[in-house]
Symmetry: C2
Subunit: 619 residues, 2 copies
């Protein structure tokens, strides 16, 4: 497209941003206007994208990291003919696909944005796919704001992209000088950004973001720069084109007060169409071709003479087996693969293993990027350190991502390392993620089966593993459906039901034995599927035994006790409930001492059950 056409297209994008936000009565007009030329030139001259085939494996990926500038994105879609003028004006209204911040309700949006600093880390995941997994020469374009460069997650991604020499990745920073509440730290000092990015091995191009020819050259330079990623640092004016708002504070996130005048100032409504370059025909994604018979590791039950096995070991071995059977499975780890046991996968499938170093936000974001490319990622670190990526997990759900997340070293049972390393809040965090699945296996065979099953679920699937060796309770042919549970002890005279998962299952079983010796029969349920929870089995236990005691190596809030209570939160009669969980602040101690200290060992469980049977606990 020519200079004049590009300039005109940019004005159209501004006008459409003004129109959309005016129709909505809210939204970020000025943040869209600063990046109009950046968007126009990219769409017209550089993007390779088939809007009729968003699933085309050769398509470029465009991530609008500054998701609040969604009007610009939707204006680009209109120019490309993907969104009608009528739909554009549904912006932010109930039921519209054109949400305040972009989400994959729109087929051309790979991932949701709106929490700043996430676009680049996700883009790194996609670009890694392009370099190491996929055959297609697509590019990843991330349009970012300047404010969000303060997010540490951006620098995790900058470091990773530089080190991996991701020359298929371009970061476009719309340096419009103004954040939400006022000037950014670096204002229009493009050099401040350039120095930082260069130190991490990036190529940088500084450009007047409103000069379409300069922007065009910058994109061309990015596309032709080999061996390192490029950042285009564009000096822009927030609200550019409308004197009333241009470069003014206090205009963030607001429609223009006089849209009609602004549109006139911008030269009026246009209907310029961009014939977006389509990508070359591409082979189907390589992983689609791969597939084989899954041979999961099999563990002999300890009662039959088998060794004890840590669930994290079973996870690593099962993941390696899954990788052998499925070419679409990839693994990512935060430099703790020797602890999480993803090292087994890394040994067998080095080409599909991604070391993310100690950068948990990047770790999860890269997984999100890879699933958007059709791969099936397993991302692993300590359960405790997944909290570092909480916002990315939350956004992954909004992105409708299909992502496997595995947290090791659950609970006080890890022992001497102390509370900083203990996953004690992970179930609460993962259960509250929209549409998540939360699995908490107690033995090796159960773990292996769940590792395989989770691969085909939708949404965020979480598996919690333990550090220490544990009895193998189940045989290798036992099945563990998602949403199920196992009744491990059951009698006609059960006085109550112990509900456990993971580490606390052996404790519950031992407690049942202790109680049986005293003539108190209790039921024991292994609630390996914490979400969805097996409500019918809990209902039956409630009806038949009258009381449920939950035992978990996790805080009392939001975990297994909550999952059980929620199964009765539809108005049905509720049994008596007792919650045993970690209410102390642990220090260092042996695993057994920790369980005892937290009151979740067999003796404590038995004591609570005894009290409940005697009803002494109820005031």
């Amino acid at each position: 497209m020519s200079t004049d056409e590009l300039t005109d297209l940019a004005q159209q994008l501004r006008v459409d941003s003004v129109r959309a936000t005016d129709a909505a009565g809210s939204g970020h007009a000025t943040s869209s206007m600063s990046a109009a030329e950046l968007g126009a030139v990219l769409l017209a001259n550089h993007l390779r994208y088939d809007f009729d085939r968003p699933e085309h494996p050769g398509n470029d990926h465009l991530i609008l990291s500054k998701g609040h500038a969604s009007p610009l994105l939707y204006a680009l879609y209109r120019a490309a003919g993907a969104v009608s003028d009528e739909e554009l004006l549904t912006f932010r209204s109930r039921g519209s696909r054109l949400e305040g911040h972009p989400t994959p309700r729109l087929p051309w949006v790979d991932v949701a944005t709106g929490s700043l600093g996430q676009g680049l880390p996700v883009g790194v995941g996609m670009a890694l796919c392009g370099k190491r997994l996929d055959r297609d020469p697509y590019r990843v374009w991330v349009i970012s704001g300047d404010s969000e460069m303060a997010e540490g997650s951006v620098w995790e991604a900058v470091e990773h992209a530089g080190a991996e020499k991701l020359d298929n990745l371009t970061l476009v920073v719309d340096v419009n000088r103004l954040g939400q509440r006022g000037p950014t730290r670096h204002g229009h000092d493009l050099g401040a950004y350039a120095r930082r990015l260069q130190a991490f091995g990036w190529h940088t191009v500084e450009v007047d973001g409103h000069d379409v020819d300069a922007v065009d050259r910058a994109y061309a330079e990015a596309r032709s720069t080999a061996g390192r990623p490029t950042a285009i640092l564009a000096n822009t004016v927030k609200g550019k084109g409308v004197a009333d708002v241009a470069d003014k504070e206090g205009m963030h996130g607001k429609p223009l007060s006089d849209a009609t005048a602004a549109i006139a100032e911008l030269g009026g409504v246009r209907a310029r169409h961009v014939d977006v370059h389509k990508p070359a025909e591409a082979a189907p994604a390589p992983h689609a071709a791969t597939g084989g018979h899954l041979t999961l590791p099999r563990f002999r039950a300890t009662a039959d003479g088998g060794d004890q096995v840590a669930t994290r070991d079973a996870y690593g071995k099962a993941l390696a087996a899954l990788g052998a059977a499925r070419g679409d499975v990839v693994a990512l780890d935060g430099e703790v693969g020797d602890s999480t046991r993803t090292e087994y996968f890394a040994e067998d499938h080095a080409d599909r293993y991604f070391e993310c170093y100690i950068a948990e936000q990047l770790l999860v974001a890269a997984g999100v990027g890879m699933q958007a490319r059709g791969h099936v990622p397993y991302v692993s670190t300590f359960a405790a350190f997944l909290t570092r990526a909480h916002d990315f997990l939350r956004m992954a759900a909004i992105s409708r991502a299909d992502l496997n997340v595995v947290g090791s070293h659950a609970g006080v049972a890890i022992g001497q390392d102390g509370p900083s390393q203990m996953g004690l809040e992970d179930l609460a965090m993962m259960r509250a993620i929209h549409g998540s699945t939360v699995l908490c296996p107690c033995d090796a065979n159960q773990t292996a089966k769940l590792v395989a099953a989770m691969a085909d679920l939708h949404g965020i699937r979480y598996l919690r593993t333990g550090r220490g060796k544990a009895d193998v309770i189940y045989g290798p042919d036992e099945e563990f459906p998602i949403g199920g549970s196992k009744v491990l002890r059951r009698g006609d005279a059960d006085r109550l039901t112990l509900v456990a998962a993971g580490t606390t299952v052996p404790e519950a079983l031992r407690a049942a034995d202790l109680l049986a010796d005293e003539g108190i029969e209790v039921r024991v349920i292994d609630l390996y599927s914490v979400k969805p929870v097996d409500a019918p089995t809990l209902w039956a236990a409630a009806e038949e035994t009258g009381a449920l005691v939950t035992v978990e190596d996790h805080r009392a809030e939001g975990g297994i006790g909550d999952a059980v209570a929620e199964a009765f939160a539809d108005g049905r009669p509720v049994p008596r409930l007792v919650r045993l969980a970690v209410s102390n602040m642990p220090g260092s101690a042996s695993p057994d001492e920790q369980l005892q200290g937290a009151g979740i060992d067999a003796d404590s469980v038995a004591a609570a059950a005894r009290l409940l049977v005697e009803k002494a606990v109820v005031r």
Copy 2:
């Protein structure tokens, strides 16, 4: 101390690290050994610290960010005479203060470490105090590993320290080349770190970390460098001093296999004492002198003709008033002060307001650092974006920090901006933090009272505020004790109880009116204190009305429904329970449409109550 003495001290620290980990049978010997000279020279020649008076306001602050190297820290304490040889050997045993990773159970430890990448951000908070709040010329020393430089939180802190010219802050990076599972990304390339840090405005010194004279000069250079922070990049050998483990992979986190031989190789056990330089006498912290009468904002009840007021507005005004009354109150925000309304505080108390830009990990960490210096921080951003700092909040609890955290824009009620901006998981996250207080006010007067009350609580105190204007329900003289609740509707014939908090309180009240019109009397409880929860009032409601319906603008997991269920988790009889919460994935829509779409508006609440009364809901 002389070169020979320093060298000998360093060997003593190695020996003691070997002895402690050997006694414990676990722990990170080799990570301690690499930093022995760095620790020895700091303790002997540069640290200013009175071990008899850890509360001395003039003390330097030493943060061991690589917390797994705790044996080194404890060996330093032994050398300083603060810890006996006998106590040293209690390392990692039950009840010992010498935990696997340092915590403030030891009076000389300001903050817990062990989740990597947190020491520098917390140190920035302390150094900011030194520059802007305190009168004392203390220094902040952060000893970091090289692996943790991959964490984005480190770069949030690097950026902030550079921009704020924190020359009272020194980062010491123990570049021992080996992470937990193998080589780090940059190995021994000190220049890679130096280039990055310099780009952010830091002074850097590259040094042989085992040459005590060179290390001594580096510390002196750091102390004499004005106008910018200094990073000392030390080339070291993991496991230095014992040939069997030096620079070897696979030795992370393990005691040495032959401690006796290693101690002999290191020259045997020593008992060298360091007379640590004491700080100059200091004036008491300036905030202690300030204090005045607290005049909270007062809002006229809407029923009496007052305007509607957003709880975030009440927060901002109350915080500004609190700042006028108390000199120890400081506020930090993540560049959204115009949304959270900390802008009111910033206008009145610019000297005690800290703009942290969009860097939520730094935001929370800086608050943690400031409370360690005796200030009373309020850190604020959108509730949704607090998830970015989840790991820092978790660690803050382990640090026994007293910290006020305020999350705005709670729930679907924010309207058009869509799910990325909605705090829907914050209650689950904050309730699961050990020892936390969770407050969820519904009106302006309640908010103001709670803002003042939270200042004097212990632990992490969370306040959740809403975006939209809301009725002022209470008068300005009403009291709201922590752990209390308000029964807003009560009758002799209540058929059930509606339990709400925040945005859903007005919906519950309207639902009660709708039901009353149909002859169904219901009780309504405003559960503003979500943790601790007012169990006795819930118990009474259960006994008197038989059923509780919780209504929350939050996910069903871990929030108000869980808090209510937990009040009955001690084995007492449980009422029928119904949980209304946000189970959909919202898009854009008006606030009223959002509440309706999520099924938590007055009509939905009334419908659920009707069903329960008719018992039609129970299968």
